[in-house]
Subunit: 161 residues, 2 copies
DNA sequence: CTATATTCGGATGACTTAATCCTTTTAATG
DNA sequence: CATTAAAAGGATTAAGTCATCCGAATATAG
């Protein structure tokens, strides 16, 4: 099975970049109640700093994270990891229809689309959604015993001479 | 479940635009052996003409379509609709890993990624792939008795006055 | 109350994907 | 053989997503 390029790079995930970043952070965020700096989170996971900051803001507005300004501020989980589902995170980042309403891109809502792939796609979509709804951050953490990100308060970017 | 915007519009499908356009055309292309003009295909489905032309070229190079130049030329299916699978089309347009190798975007191939969602995602991914591999263009046509695109040779864009 | 450290929010820039335009090549027809 | 009609292919533009920058707001500490 050959494939021909049209101009876009191979997609790394069915989710958009902000969603992937969000999940990467949430899965490794410790649940000990301490606030973590956006800057340090980004550094530890090697993600673009200012961009991740914006994503953390969104997660705060959606009630998934809790933010605190000023010195000793930062971000932490707003609820226990077992109370935050994968689905909730994805919906927060991608919107209410994370997989689009139609595989072929037809619009017109649930009813308006007469596309032939629709019935089969709905089945698969429901399986995806169900999986995401029953999987929590805690599940993800435990399943592979993820190491939480480091505890160091801050490294002042060690400017040499 | 609230969701916050970050700058991108709600995705209409998990596939890229060219893939959706390709499927839309293929599903409605008649299998009577006649060549159809890129221009007319685009007009009938209300898709951007020159862009669709490029996509048709790719499908030709992959052996899904057959093209013929000059007058009375155009595009037609290279094989019977029951011999062209959904998977083949998607792979042709999206590359060998249509869903990305990892939900969180980790790279490192099948083994290098220790992401906690991996096992469950692999299961779902296999279901998606299996569905696409066993679904042919013919299945899609029959399931909803799609009307093939019109037979008119060409309309010269009827410039009034 | 001042200084400092952080999130917040808007404006801007860079890069990727979508789409167009124009020239060349190929084939059919008179 | 000239004309015409179509796909093929490259260069260019437009739109969308990703990412950065900077000023404002807010909270802590001295």
């Amino acid at each position: 099975m050959q494939h021909s390029e049209l101009g876009f790079a191979p997609s790394r995930s069915i989710f958009h970049t902000p969603t992937r970043y969000a999940l990467q952070v949430l899965v490794r965020l410790p649940s000990d109640g301490t606030y973590r700096l956006a800057r340090c989170l980004a550094a530890d996971l090697e993600l673009p700093g200012p961009y991740l900051a914006k994503i953390l803001q969104i997660l705060s507005q959606c009630g998934i994270l809790e933010s605190h300004r000023g010195p000793a501020g930062g971000f932490r989980l707003h609820r226990a990891p077992e109370d935050i589902t994968l689905k909730e995170v994805v919906v927060a980042m991608e919107g209410p229809e994370p997989f689009g309403d139609c595989l072929l891109g037809h619009h017109g809502g649930k009813d308006g689309c007469h596309c032939p792939i629709r019935p089969a796609w709905d089945v698969l979509q429901n399986q995806l959604t169900a999986f995401m709804a029953e999987t929590t951050l805690q599940d993800l953490k435990v399943s592979h015993d993820l190491s939480s990100i480091s505890d160091e308060p801050d490294r002042p970017d060690a400017v040499p001479v």
